[in-house]
């Protein structure tokens, strides 16, 4: 490596268009957005229920996990990202939900 310009060895356009997955189109984003608004209202409706049952807890947390998956995959555009990062982000909300469900399980039983 003896070129006079001693910058880094491999230089290539950091993120040429072809190399990366593009963001979802407006239409897809809008559909996902409306879907998430609906899901949120649904989970809020659950709050009105008089008593808190285990499957209600799991339903609400499932909705949250679905919404989170949409955001991570489409809005954060991790669909095209290396698998390590996608798995890391996708399992975050389910993992926290599991802990929360566990604390409810222990309390209710």
């Amino acid at each position: 490596m003896d070129n006079s310009n001693l910058n880094h060895a491999e230089i290539e356009p950091a993120n040429s268009r072809s190399a990366k997955t593009l963001m979802p189109s407006y239409k897809v984003s809008t559909i996902l957005w409306l879907l998430m608004l609906a899901l949120t209202c649904a989970s809020a409706y659950f709050a009105e229920q008089p008593s808190l049952t285990m499957n209600l807890v799991m339903a609400v947390l499932l909705i949250t996990a679905i919404k989170a998956a949409m955001i991570v995959d489409y809005f954060m555009n991790l669909r095209g990202a290396p698998r390590f990062w996608r798995i890391l982000l996708m399992t975050y909300v389910p993992a926290v939900s599991l802990v929360i469900t566990a604390t409810f399980a222990i309390d209710l039983s």
Partner: protein, 235 residues
Amino acid sequence: MNQTLSSSTPTSLSPESTRLDTEAQSSIGNSMDTETDSITASETSVSKGSRSGRLPGDLAMWIFILAELTAFALLFSIYAVNRALYPDIFAEGQAGLDITSGLANTLALLSSSYFVARAVTSVEHGNNRKGFYELLAAIGMGAVYLVIKILEYKHSIELGYDITTNVFYQYYYLLTAFHFLHVILGMIILAFVAIKTRKKAYTPDSIMGLESGACYWHMVDLLWLILFPLVYVLH
């Protein structure tokens, strides 16, 4: 050499020298001299091939995002454990919360995330002006969140609930206020990125700074997605 102009605050503070830094007495190979570092303001980023897909945004931002997610995961878990330890205090406290403002906040943050996603799509198609206005809309929705949250705080403080009232309000204030500050930090980042979008700093080929700001904002929204059911819904 590609010019990655991610967010560049005045770099007077530390112009990066990009020469291979030997600083040993002798020179390397046949390069003329190792000593006079040419201070090139350009910022080169090393990106090894992109066969296995590309992480949107900057790895530095992702390390910051992971740290924040870990901190909040710990905070959520400790909140959940304490809810199980003191069910009655938490139930009574949660009953006092206004579900509609919680819902409105969630819708506001979801919409602002939506606008940020649209903005990134716009800039990817080279339409910086449209992207700029979408970012402004996102910041606007963020402001809506702030207003609703401040009203909520004012309401509960007027009722005399303070961070030291009881264990529920300690956790409620700590978690939501800490997230509140992250929304403000996220809005500052979005504003910063919006200005650069307006000044055409981002092109379809060099969009990393915008993606980093967008990913941070989506993380803040993600955190609220967990906070909303945890604090408002499940009681």
